[in-house]
């Protein structure tokens, strides 16, 4: 479908009430553990970032790096048995310490979520109309029915779903339409912040590009802040303002997409970009070895055993988060700070040879 042109009145109505210019979401030293019989898995281990109004932050990393756990942790949607720590402020309010009742009130109306598999998130027995009515009534029980319908239809029209389909069932929609339904459902309550967890991974090439375009328009048209979780650096390049690269539970580098992708500072970012197969690939590159065990991660930098630039200091001392040359943050001894590296720390690290036995 072609993108619907928005009428200005409707657009204004859908603006989330953004107060001030401070960050919408501010995460500081967020940690999430999962208990197992072997010990605690440190899935997210001290992550900090800010998200400004209308900004899209791409959270990119490979499976097991903790990116989905982080997304759910921000929403308070972790499974039982998961522990979290740190501070997540939504417009100054700490969401990690608030009561379950308050958190529930915030979810949906202020914090939205878009999942990977739309079909598993829609109730096959309920019409589209019922999904929207339930979502709206949860948060605004007193809204007259006419207005509920109106608001639902507006959200659907913005996603290019015609009003003729309002009474249809989820199975009557194609995959791309379902994902647009999910986005409309997340938008109908006009949240200020949305987490989208691999929203295009289950979709076809062309439909994926359509959804990326829709997400792109979101930030422009509604000033919605978006955390876009993906393993695809191509999607980040096309849909995000800033990028945070995650490895083994840590954000190892973050900054503006154009800066980070043009001049990656962290060796993992560089190797991840190099190993991505794109239309301009002329040779194959890959990262030897696999990410560390998160129950008992290696001391120092977690990427050191695989890092082509690893130094002696990397295997003993945690890297320090520093300002990234060109803006943003990075944590890597090869970037700095040099004055804190102990004597002899810059010697080449003797790494164990990585065979297929260790590969991801």
């Amino acid at each position: 479908m072609t993108q619907p042109e928005l009428d200005p009145v409707l657009e204004a109505e859908f603006q989330p009430d953004v107060t001030g210019d401070g960050p919408v979401i501010s995460a500081r030293d967020v940690r999430v553990w999962y208990g197992t019989t072997r010990g605690a898995i440190r899935a997210v281990d001290g992550v900090s970032f800010d998200l400004a109004p209308g900004e899209t932050l791409g959270l990119v990393g490979e499976s097991g790096c903790g990116k989905s756990t982080l997304g759910r942790g921000l929403m308070g949607l972790l499974p039982a048995g998961a522990k979290r720590d740190g501070e997540v402020r939504f417009r100054g309010e700490d969401v990690l310490t608030m009561s379950p009742r308050d958190a529930h009130r915030l979810r949906g109306s202020q914090l939205g979520m878009i999942f990977q598999e739309p079909m598993t998130r829609l109730n096959p027995l309920l019409r589209v109309s019922a999904h929207f009515e339930e979502a709206i009534r949860q948060h605004e029980p007193k809204l007259p029915k006419r207005e509920v319908t109106q608001r639902a239809l507006d959200a659907l029209r913005m996603m290019g779903i015609p009003p003729t389909r309002y009474r249809s069932y989820p199975h009557e929609f194609s995959g791309g339409m379902r994902q647009r339904l999910m986005i409309a459902l997340a938008l109908v309550l006009r949240p200020a912040f949305i987490v989208a967890d691999e929203p295009t991974t289950a979709l076809d090439v062309l439909v994926e590009a359509q959804i990326v375009q829709i997400l792109n328009d979101l930030r422009r048209d509604f000033r919605t802040s978006l955390l876009l979780i993906t393993h695809n650096v191509g999607i980040v390049a096309e849909a995000c303002d800033r990028v945070a690269v995650m490895y083994a539970g840590r954000i190892v580098e973050q900054g503006r997409v154009a800066d980070v992708f043009a001049a990656p500072q962290h060796p993992y970012t560089r190797e991840l970009l190099r190993s991505t197969i794109s239309l301009r690939t002329t040779g194959l590159n890959f990262i030897p070895g696999s990410p560390p065990d998160l129950i008992d991660p290696p001391p120092g930098c977690r990427f050191a055993p695989r890092c082509p630039q690893a130094m002696a200091v990397c295997a003993t001392t945690d890297p320090i988060t520093i300002e990234r040359p060109g803006g943003g943050q990075v944590e890597c001894w090869a970037v700095g700070p040099t004055d804190l590296i102990p004597a002899g720390g810059t010697a080449r690290l003797q790494q164990e040879e990585l065979a297929v036995a260790d590969e991801a």
């Binding site: 619907p4 062309l206 096309e238 794109s278 239309l279 590969e359």
Partner: protein
């Protein structure tokens, strides 16, 4: 041009699946229709070649791949392998054939039996094909595992799939595929479930195996980037047909079919400097049970012309899209004048629309046209005449384009008329 002989020669292959329909429909013997998953495909695979089948889900690429192993029954057409026709083989003949053609599946976790060790999984194929000596089997298994880089082999032989990483599992799947010494591997999205940093490794392994064992590949994927790197020749598939086929270089340097162009534009690029607003085709892959008239891609095609097969369902989509841009009041008024869209659900080239009077309907259509005069559908409208309480819209008859030679590749699109009538389609 071909110096190597053809290994697989597929002629006009169709794989149709009958739909079950409702219980009542079956009782009264009503035909629920067929899905033409593969609809008349001709293609060859040369010795030592990597042929890519690229398309979105529903394009029939996986069904085609399965048909090459006799795993999906051919409705018509032939699959020649080594002079024999695979479509007329018995089960036991097919089993013997699978020593020569093997398959690599997308999801290595689903392709491996969780209760079999690596040694059992790889050795099972040998046992099925009649190798009785377990010592001999072990030898071949070890050799295959070493070949795919799972060494030291002793570390892996007794492991279960759950002990392995995604990349290691896909290596086991590849070991199982090569253990019989096949000549052709049909690889269905072999790297798309893997992490970015592992994909290149598995692709490199497949290249090494090709080199070392003289394999030929049919590489099935939706990912143009890996196809560009890996394939010698590429067939772009859409709704059961090949719409463009030719040498990889030529396809990427000069894409001709509008669908190929669209796929190339849509491929995500990790270079933020290149990321610009894209002119993407609308909609999605249509229902293969009732494909569009004419060219299957015409409802989404930005370059479509009068004879591409315009019909009632396209008009319905146009009206519905238009209504996403109207206010609720305008929508109520317009949908009252147009009435039910059910009449527009069938593939008709002459259709009655409206119940609020011919003038009212006509003015709605005119308004839509004024808003978007470049909409390709209008090129297909032959006539709009008054018809009772509405209007009758007549479309130009459509042409179903066949693959034709165009500048070194074959393209199925009316925009590319034949430039060498002697050359047969299918490359």
């Amino acid at each position: 041009m071909p110096t190597k002989p053809d290994l697989i020669d597929v002629r006009d292959l169709s794989v149709h699946f009958g739909l079950r329909g409702g219980t009542l429909g079956r009782l009264v013997g009503r035909d629920a229709g067929v899905v033409r998953a593969v609809d008349g495909i001709s293609v060859t695979l040369r010795e030592g070649e990597v042929l890519g089948l690229v398309g979105e889900s529903g394009s029939g690429k996986s069904t085609f791949g399965r048909a090459l192993l006799g795993l999906a029954p051919a409705t018509s057409g032939t699959i020649g392998f080594d002079g024999a026709d695979l479509t007329s083989m018995s089960r036991s003949e097919l089993r013997a054939l699978r020593q020569s053609i093997q398959m690599v599946f997308q999801d290595p976790s689903a392709a491996l039996n969780p209760s079999m060790t690596v040694a059992e999984a790889v050795g099972d194929a040998l046992r099925v094909h009649g190798m009785k000596s377990s010592v001999e089997r072990r030898e071949r298994v070890v050799e295959a595992l070493e070949r795919v880089g799972l060494s030291p082999v002793q570390l892996f032989l007794d492991k279960y799939p759950r002990d392995l990483s995604g990349g290691q599992k896909q290596r086991v799947v590849l070991a199982r595929a090569i253990v019989m010494g096949p000549r052709v591997l049909v690889a269905d999205e072999p790297i798309s479930m893997l992490d970015m940093s592992v994909r290149a490794k598995i692709l490199q392994l497949m290249l090494d195996l090709k080199q070392d064992l003289g394999l030929s590949y049919v590489y099935i994927t939706h990912d143009l980037a890996s196809a560009k790197f890996f394939c010698d020749r590429i067939a772009i598939m859409y709704l059961g047909r090949i719409v463009e086929i030719g040498d990889t270089e030529e396809i990427f340097a000069n894409p001709r079919h509008p669908y190929t162009k669209a796929l190339l534009r849509a491929a995500p690029d990790p270079d933020p400097a290149r990321a610009v607003a894209k002119d993407l085709p609308r909609g999605e892959v249509p229902d293969a049970a009732v494909p569009p008239l004419g060219c299957s891609f015409h409802p989404r095609c930005p370059e479509a012309v009068a004879q591409c097969g315009w019909e009632a369902r396209d008009l319905r989509t146009l009206l519905e899209t238009h209504w996403t841009r109207r206010t609720p009041e305008e929508y109520d008024a317009e949908s009252a004048a147009v009435g039910s869209l059910d009449a527009l659900a069938r593939p008709d080239t002459s259709v009655h629309v409206g119940r609020g009077g011919a003038d009212a309907v006509r003015s709605i259509l005119d308004r839509i046209r004024d808003e978007e005069p470049d909409e390709p559908l209008w090129r297909g409208v032959a006539d709009v005449t008054d018809d009772g309480a509405g209007v009758r819209v007549d479309f130009h008859p459509g042409v179903d384009p066949a693959l034709r030679r165009a500048g070194g590749v074959d393209v199925a699109c009316v925009l590319y008329p034949d430039d060498s009538p002697d050359d047969s389609a299918g490359g």
